[in-house]
């Protein structure tokens, strides 16, 4: 039935595959043991050299030469490790040493590679070393989102006008990864970004505005008020929600007035954000409007309104108790749950 030669072929193939697998598995194991040992030794050498170079007053040429001779993988690892714990003049010195051992030149070359994985590696080294280099700035417009995101991470420590302009453009990035990185980088920049972001929000709408409003909310500066008011009238529900959150975070009379209007918005998330914002501002004058929102058809809006009433203190509690006796069972239920909460519970 079965040809002996067919059986032999199948058997030979399988034996070959198994032997190959065993050889690869154990040879790789041996290779790992050897390389890990070597790597640890090299790392120790690189760390020692770096420590000496960083702590001594003058740069020793022989030490630089010794560090240069350390294999690249260990060299890079040692520099990245040191970069995490250094700032200011320490980091500056580290950059100087990295330049001397050609680490930065190699990273720059990697940034120019046609392969995105290499550009990513190069950008990672330059970002960790806080190297102000136009080559990384160029990567803010890289075709690969991971590279753009890495460049945005670098940009957090390089708040030049051109970098900030490029970052603001990235708020409209189609890749979530890049958008997240740029928002995070902007928050790390702090108030430096506030002025350009406020100007950006004045002229942009849609997704970039929504992303920008999230950053503005975290920064909570009053200069974002005009942008918050403008975007609270946007056609886009997501933008209106972000604007309501921003207005709640800023907390001014104009914000409160607009948030009261937003309590009647057609989108539930906007109404919930408005109620939340009014509570955040402790705007007791909003009591009756918030009490009306207890009757909202959406659970989340009712919840936010109830918590807002709780936040504004005695007047809010009065409205909550009044809701207990009202004809709306949902409002009464929510009010009851809020009134039952222990004092420390934040919801």
């Amino acid at each position: 039935m079965i040809n002996q030669s067919l059986l032999n072929i199948v058997m030979l193939i399988e034996i070959f595959l198994l032997v190959l697998a065993v050889l690869l598995f154990f040879t790789h194991g041996l290779w790992l043991v050897a390389t890990q040992k070597r790597f640890l030794r090299d790392m120790t050498d690189a760390r020692d050299s770096l420590a000496r170079l960083l702590t001594r007053g003058t740069i020793n040429v022989e030490e630089i030469e010794r560090l240069r001779r350390v294999p690249r993988d260990a060299q890079v690892a040692a520099f990245l490790e040191a970069s995490r714990n250094l700032a200011g003049t320490g980091k500056e010195r580290l950059r100087f040493i990295a330049h001397e051992v050609s680490l930065l030149d190699r990273a720059r070359k990697l940034c120019e590679s046609r392969r995105w994985t290499r550009r990513l590696r190069g950008a990672r080294v330059l970002a960790r070393m806080d190297v102000a280099d136009p080559i990384v700035e160029k990567l803010l417009g890289d075709p690969h989102p991971a590279v753009r995101a890495q460049a945005a991470e670098w940009a957090a420590a390089q708040p030049s006008p051109t970098v900030i302009a490029a970052m603001l453009t990235m708020l409209a990035d189609p890749a979530t990864q890049a958008r997240f990185a740029v928002q995070d980088a902007m928050l790390r920049m702090g108030s430096t970004i506030a002025e350009p972001l406020a100007a950006f929000l004045e002229t942009h709408s849609g997704l970039p505005a929504e992303s920008g409003l999230r950053v503005a909310e975290a920064l909570s500066e009053t200069r974002f008020l005009p942008a918050g008011l403008r975007h609270s009238a946007s056609d886009n529900g997501g933008v209106r929600t972000a604007a309501a959150n921003l207005l709640g975070a800023i907390g001014s009379a104009a914000s409160a007035e607009r948030l009261l209007e937003l309590l009647k918005d057609s989108d539930a998330p906007v109404r919930a954000a408005a109620a939340h914002g009014l509570g955040r501002m402790n705007h007791w004058q909003a009591g009756s409007q918030l009490a009306n929102s207890l009757r909202d058809s959406t659970w989340r809006v009712r919840r936010e309104a109830a918590f807002a009433l709780r936040a504004i203190g005695a007047p809010g509690a009065l409205f909550l108790r009044r809701a207990l006796k009202g004809d709306d069972a949902f409002a009464a239920d929510m009010a009851q749950q809020i009134l039952d909460l222990p004092a420390a519970a934040s919801g």
Partner: protein, 480 residues
Amino acid sequence: MMPSFLGMTSQVVVDVQYVMLLYFLGVNGWYLVLLISSLLEMNRHMLLIADESRHLLLSSTLSPTISILAPAFNEEATIEGSLRAVLALQYPSLEVIVISDGSKDHTVQVLIDKFDLVPVKTIYERRIATKPVRALYRSSTYPALVVIDKENGGKADALNVGLSFARGELVCAMDADTLIEGDGLQRMVRPFLHETDVVATGGTIRVVNGSEVKFGRIIKTHVPTNALAGIQVVEYLRGFLFGRLGWNRLGGNIIISGAFGLFRRESVLNAGGYLHDTVGEDMELVLRLKRLSYERSGPGKIAFVPDPVAWTEVPESLKVLGRQRDRWHRGLADVLWRHRGMLFNPRYGVTGLFVFPYYAFVELLAPLIEAAGLIALAFGLITGIVDWKFAALFYLTAYGLGTAMTSFTLILEDLSFHRYETFRDRGLLFWFALLENLGYRQMTVYWRLRGLWKFLRGHKDWGAQERKGFRPLAAPTAGA
């Protein structure tokens, strides 16, 4: 009359053997495709994560909040250790919700005593009907900890209660006896930050048996010397590193382990939460999320991420293992049956045309086909209808190729994460890869067939689970 009957029988036996041969060739060929796919995917993944700075995520105010849902049923012996390990996870915005599903032992009391729990009230939206909640507690020492004591309703019910209470944008479903590695959540959250259409991500589950555990952390990884646990180490590696990783590139996964999965909370709530009357609630949810994404044209990407790791204890007794496999297969059958409309349905894209049929014809029906092949082979050999050469070819095609694929998975593990460092562990892994086909695999065929049979008869029980608990500090010993 008689000779023609015999002739017909022998023809049937021979035909069955050839069909089996082709089937196994096809399955192993597909495994090869999966292996290549996972190699490519692993390479891409390793390049992406090399030197990445996850500490930025740790300090970012934009990181999404994760609510960990840990259902517990009679876990008084292990709950404290497991929970302390969860509370120590490195993630900036974390909420931990333990749901005692009507535990009959002192699970809740242990939690009250050890974590300074105080009864509180809270407001939550009951978007999914569940069994009543008896009490809710918050810890006065761990602000992130919430404990829910509810009436028994099964794991799915407990998870649904957790979903309602959770505040996080993302929820992580885990078993109370699973150990998640410290940076596991930081790693697993990445796809959610990178893509908007991701609704769920799963990490790798590894076997803790044989390894050293201290304070809920793996101190040293070892392959257990116990054959049953050791073979499962190989099985888990194959299942996660080449099974699920390979599918990432070939149309997406439809399985995320219930022991360690991260979901977008709103998507799960919109889908109706976990289903009660199935033993495969984790797979059912993922498949439902996938299905709804096609039907509603919404987000539905399921991503497997290989580097976040959770450790779980696997059974070391045939009885318990048999029950587990029987349950898993019943779950698979149930889930595929519930969503049978997706099979070869172009409306469901790659999932309907590729992934679903694979699970139906390879994963679900494999034990049936394998059993038929083995029985026909034994019958053929006894009656002389098939000769030893055919039997050898059958065995080599059915099991030999599979062993080769498994061996290459071990290489994939070694090339990427190499968690098993010693040559003793390597030797054991390879030995277990060979041993798997000599009895173990045939037993799993039996258990899975039993599962299929029980499914056909409508059994939906979970069966009792026995846990030995994680070994604290001792050196690795046989069977530990």
